[in-house]
């Protein structure tokens, strides 16, 4: 899988949109490692939540070109726009939708779900004083906070997604979720088992200051 070009994005873009970093590349590497599985799964709908610059879903869309419909969501209009431009720059076919998580998508339709959540541990109070400005068409600098600040345990947004997961994933659907050790992956795995999902640590990587994981989540009823 090729790493998409990002030379069309400027420093000004990255003032408003999360710039691809080690975490993004780990998610790309996980998809690359699991290509055989994805080939067999024959996903018809692939969705990345909080796509930011759009490099991850663009790489997947290129790989699955002509075999899968790829969509990206983000609450930040500048991220939606950056994702669309990244797809165009790289000749990938995908659509960008501005919404929160998978809120705008029909139930149980997603075959491959990707999420690199805001995972940094911050205080909830800090996050709550930073309401995302949904009324404004232009995002402000402080909106970039929402691309990384995760509240308590860095799990505020991830926990919302996990609660909705049964309603999002198709019967054969799979989620690739990026986590930090501080997000307590074991606790998440147990929680998901209680919801009749099977979750495994699919990949991990230590970088200075961070221990990152990719959790692969499928329904326990789905055949592996």
């Amino acid at each position: 899988m090729e790493t998409p070009y990002t030379d069309h994005l400027s420093l000004e873009d990255f003032e408003h949109v999360y710039e691809p970093a080690e975490d993004s590349f780990l998610l790309l590497d996980a998809l690359e490692k699991d290509l055989e599985y994805l080939d067999q799964l024959q996903p018809r709908l692939c969705v990345e939540l909080g796509s930011g610059s759009g490099v991850i879903i663009t790489a997947l869309a290129k790989k699955l070109a002509g075999f899968s419909l790829c969509l990206a969501t983000d609450i930040n209009p500048k991220a939606c726009n950056a994702t669309r431009r990244t797809a165009t720059r790289n000749g990938a076919r995908l659509d960008s939708i501005r919404c929160s998580l998978a809120d705008a998508l029909r139930s149980q339709s997603v075959d491959v779900l990707l999420f690199n959540p805001p995972y940094v541990v911050t205080s909830d109070a800090e996050l709550q004083t930073q309401q995302f400005d949904t009324h404004s068409e232009s995002s402000t600098d402080r909106n970039l906070v929402f691309s990384w600040a995760g509240g308590q345990d860095g799990r505020r947004v991830t926990d919302i997604l996990l609660k909705q997961l049964d309603d999002i994933l198709s019967p054969r659907g799979v989620l690739y979720l990026l986590l930090l050790r501080e997000n307590k992956p074991e606790e998440i795995i147990q929680y998901l088992e209680g919801l009749k999902f099977r979750a495994v640590k699919f990949m991990e990587r230590r970088i200075p200051g961070e221990h990152l994981y990719i959790l692969k989540v499928t329904r326990s009823s789905a055949s592996s």
């Binding site: 002509g66 609450i75 929160s100 705008a104 029909r106 949904t134």
Partner: protein
Amino acid sequence: MKLSTYNFLTSMAIKGVKVGFPLKLTINKKEVVESEFNPTFVERMLPKLDWSAVYGAAQVAELTDDIPAVQPENIGENELLMQKLHHLLFEIDVLEGQLECPETGRVFPITDGIPNMLLNEDEV
């Protein structure tokens, strides 16, 4: 926004909305983006699509001569129809327009090809 994407969008997240599908589509500006026709993919995609929304999109895109109101049987054997579905679903990109919740009338604008489905906190 491609019309295949349109088929997956709902306003169900609005408080009190039961189905929120299909959304009422208005197209003000569209372009045709050519893409390679892959009949196998179109056929595999069909079970995931709602035909009434496919037909609804065809009406708005003024392609109803091409698409029947009721999904025909053995559609995979009809190469011409598959080509027309490919064109409708994967080649028409809505750049400007809007989507409207069928139950509440809430309007979601489509700008620069991106539908804005983000709800305010008091709507969810």
